[in-house]
């Protein structure tokens, strides 16, 4: 009898000549691919997800992980995963889950956009020797500023500024809850955020006491499950975010199964150990923009109007109208999570087929808010597939005030985007709660790598600004004139508000 007709995705192989039987691979693999056979390491390749932990920890470079050459017969219509998912579903009757953002080959418009540069008629700037401003404030900006003269004739700002989040650079870490990622992963984000002068976001899993010291670099989230939300929590960070949707799973809720809820997570979420943590698909007190307004102001009342309130939505078809409603409902920040955004767990069918990519959504929202004359009323955070500083710069030129980084931050912690986060076995100690795996992720060590990444991107961003001949990120923000499209049709260019290259 066969074990499963869903053939393994990968073949893990050990070169028996090179192998010194140190058993590190057995120890390191979170998915129990390896076991000890008495005289050699045995391999259960069905379990391999190609996270490459074993590869990096094998001292002899004895391990190779290949794509399984015995895949189903190639077929331009029936792809490997289509056939494999049907087999899996036939065996279980369940909904196949996945982790991380969609890996389907939908067009990535960032790759069809190019950034301008100065030549001859306008000088570029050398960011290494001239000041370059990346500081960004998120929050409502007044429509006009009023000044008064005080003694000595100096003007003083009279307009009362709404609360702002101050960022040293236009990057923030995307919401990832304790439960979806490990506490050590959250600590890594917190340490880096503090060091960099930016913010992380609790996600909807409550705020663990170990993260409290980083409160001036934290956005706390309120979602449909209301996990860990009380007046202390609302006032703990620099802002409060209402989560309506997530790019990887627009329109569906969250569900952390009971077996993934040990004591510490239960404590942080303020629920009993072992029960499912269900975040209903909708917030059942929000059926309209008016209802959203009600919750926004319930939070503002509870925080005495001292914190900006952000509303996070998934990018969907009518995103521009929805965002306009959110701004009119009183949100200080609109967080738009694009189709390619990551997740700890989502049904494949939802992740790969619902929503729209961030580039379209961002351009449409920024344009709409400008047309309606309310762009200053809220900042825009763009998320969902920012893979490099180039993507970030293009997103900012399309209208984002800042970009949120989830997957790229996890990659600095060892993640190889294997997409198996939903199993809770992450060998890198990121999306798991198994203590023997989470101890591997030393927050101090990995925060250093994350800080390096953001520093590198900041330098790159300054180089781009210098080449554009501007000295502040503010000058790039929403400046679509500095972008050109390559290989895009007229309608897409029109939607993005971008000219074709050469014009």
């Amino acid at each position: 009898m066969f074990r499963s007709l869903a053939v393994p995705e990968f073949l893990a192989k050990i070169d028996q000549v090179k192998c010194i039987r140190c058993k590190r691979c057995i120890q390191n693999c979170g998915w129990s691919v390896y076991s000890w056979g008495g005289d050699k390491v045995l391999i259960d390749t069905f379990k391999c997800v190609k996270c490459l932990r074993c590869y990096h920890y094998c001292p002899e470079e004895a391990i190779t992980i290949e794509d399984n050459p015995v895949k189903y017969r190639s077929n331009a219509n029936w792809g490997f995963y289509q056939i494999r998912n049907i087999k899996k579903q036939a065996e279980t009757g369940g909904i196949p889950l996945t982790g991380m953002g969609s890996d389907m080959p939908y067009p990535v418009l960032f790759d069809n956009l190019l950034i301008d540069a100065c030549q001859v008629t306008n000088p570029s700037i050398d960011p290494l020797r001239e000041p370059m401003e990346l500081r960004t404030y998120l929050g409502k900006k007044p429509a006009k500023l009023e000044f008064e003269k005080v003694a000595g004739g100096k003007p003083k700002l009279k307009t009362k500024m709404p609360p702002q989040i101050k960022l040293e650079m236009p990057f923030i870490f995307a919401p990832m809850s304790y439960g979806s990622i490990s506490l050590n992963a959250q600590k890594t984000l917190a340490i880096a955020a503090k060091e960099l002068g930016i913010v992380m976001n609790t996600g909807e899993g409550g705020l663990h006491e170990d993260i409290y010291p980083y409160r001036s670099n934290i956005i706390v989230q309120v979602a449909s499950g209301r996990f860990g939300v009380n007046p202390d929590y609302l006032n703990a960070g620099v802002a409060v975010e209402i989560k309506i949707g997530q790019g990887a799973k627009p329109g569906i809720g969250g569900h952390l199964p009971g077996e993934k809820i040990p004591l510490d997570i239960a404590k942080t979420r303020m629920i009993p150990v072992g029960t499912d943590a269900i975040s209903p698909a909708p917030q059942h007190d929000i059926y309209s923009i008016e209802d959203l307004r009600q919750l926004i102001f319930a939070i503002k009342e509870a925080t005495n109007y001292t914190k900006p309130v952000s509303v996070k939505i998934a990018a969907v078809h009518n995103v521009a109208a929805i965002a306009s409603g959110i701004v009119r409902a009183g949100a200080d920040i609109v967080y738009i999570d694009g189709f390619r955004g990551g997740t700890g767990a989502a049904p494949v069918i939802i992740r790969d087929h619902l929503g729209i990519p961030i580039e379209y959504a961002l351009a449409a929202v920024d344009e709409r808010l400008r047309q309606e004359g309310i762009r200053n009323e809220a900042s825009i955070i763009a998320a969902g597939g920012i893979r490099s500083c180039a993507d970030a710069a293009k997103a900012i030129a399309l209208g984002a005030d800042a970009v949120a980084l989830g997957t790229s931050a996890l990659i600095t912690m060892g993640c190889t985007v294997c997409g198996k986060c939903y199993t809770g076995n992450c060998s890198w100690g990121i999306t798991t709660q198994r203590p023997e795996l989470t101890v591997r992720l030393d927050p101090e060590v990995y925060a250093e790598r994350l800080i390096n990444l953001i520093h590198a991107w900041s330098h790159e961003l300054k180089e781009i600004l210098g080449a554009l001949g501007v000295n502040a990120i503010e000058s790039l923000r929403g400046s679509r004139e500095r972008l050109r499209g390559v290989g895009l049709d007229g309608q897409t260019l029109d939607l993005l508000g971008v000219k074709p290259a050469g014009r």
Binding site: I95, V229, T275, D276, I278
Partner: protein, 246 residues
């Protein structure tokens, strides 16, 4: 006792007056002429008792942590949203989505309640939120309930022939207890719910809850307990355990 006249004042000003008074240590506040102002008691902490004269607006006692609110009239929607502790006593009817995500404290309502009451209530450690409604309830009573206690009494059942509770009772329930006075039609319940009779332990707790309730409204526990109760509990703590393929 501090009296604040709410006549014609916007909620923001009214609530900031209340917050000021509470932070100065005021233990008793009377709000006169309240007429639909939102967010009364929102995020408020401490031991203050606030008596509300008039009908308060939505999101009463949202995120509240400690105070007692007494409403002499009807109240509206979203009362006790994510409330942490404290008490809300409503002498009239109340609206939809009461006690959303409520983690502790009590909501005592003398009259009817609307849809989605007790949605996603949870217990946590010693915190055990309790909602008691004296009248009837709409659909989705106790939806997604994850902890705490919901009690529906139907005390004035004979007044009209509406059913005492709507459809989808306890749908998605995965924790907590619902007590219903009278019989429960299984057809009304969500798939995740089991109906049982009360044991001695249940009766003891129920009595405790009802005694406190009766004190607030001048009722007699014995009168209420003369009619039998049914207890609704989740069939599983993991209702969706088999939904996914790994």
């Amino acid at each position: 006792m501090l009296t604040i006249d709410a006549k014609g004042i916007y909620y923001r000003e009214l609530n900031s007056k209340v917050r000021d008074a509470v932070s100065k240590g005021e233990k008793e506040i009377l709000l006169k002429n309240v007429n639909g102002q939102y967010y009364i008691g929102d995020g408020l902490r401490g031991e203050t008792t606030i008596t509300i004269d008039g009908v308060p607006g939505n999101d009463l006692a949202a995120f509240m942590d400690g105070p007692t609110l007494i409403i002499k009239n009807n109240a509206q929607d979203n009362i006790g949203n994510t409330m942490n502790s404290g008490k809300v006593i409503i002498h009239g009817n109340a609206g939809d989505v009461l006690g959303y995500g409520m983690r502790g404290g009590k909501l005592h309502i003398r009259g009817d309640v609307g849809y989605r009451v007790g949605i996603h209530m949870k217990g946590y450690k010693k915190q055990n939120p309790v909602i008691i409604a004296g009248g009837k309830a709409g659909d989705f009573f106790g939806e997604y309930m994850a902890g705490g206690v919901l009690i529906l009494l139907n005390l004035d059942g004979k007044k009209d022939d509406r059913p005492m509770v709507g459809d989808y009772l306890g749908t998605g329930m995965h924790g907590g207890i619902i007590f219903i006075r009278g019989d429960v039609d299984k057809k009304l319940c969500g798939a995740e719910v089991g109906i049982t009779d009360l044991d001695n332990e249940d009766n003891k707790f129920l009595k405790e809850y009802l005694e406190d309730y009766c004190k607030d409204f001048n009722l007699k526990t014995e009168d209420i307990m003369r009619v039998g109760f049914k207890k609704l509990i989740p069939a599983s703590l993991r209702p969706y355990g088999n939904l996914y393929a790994y």
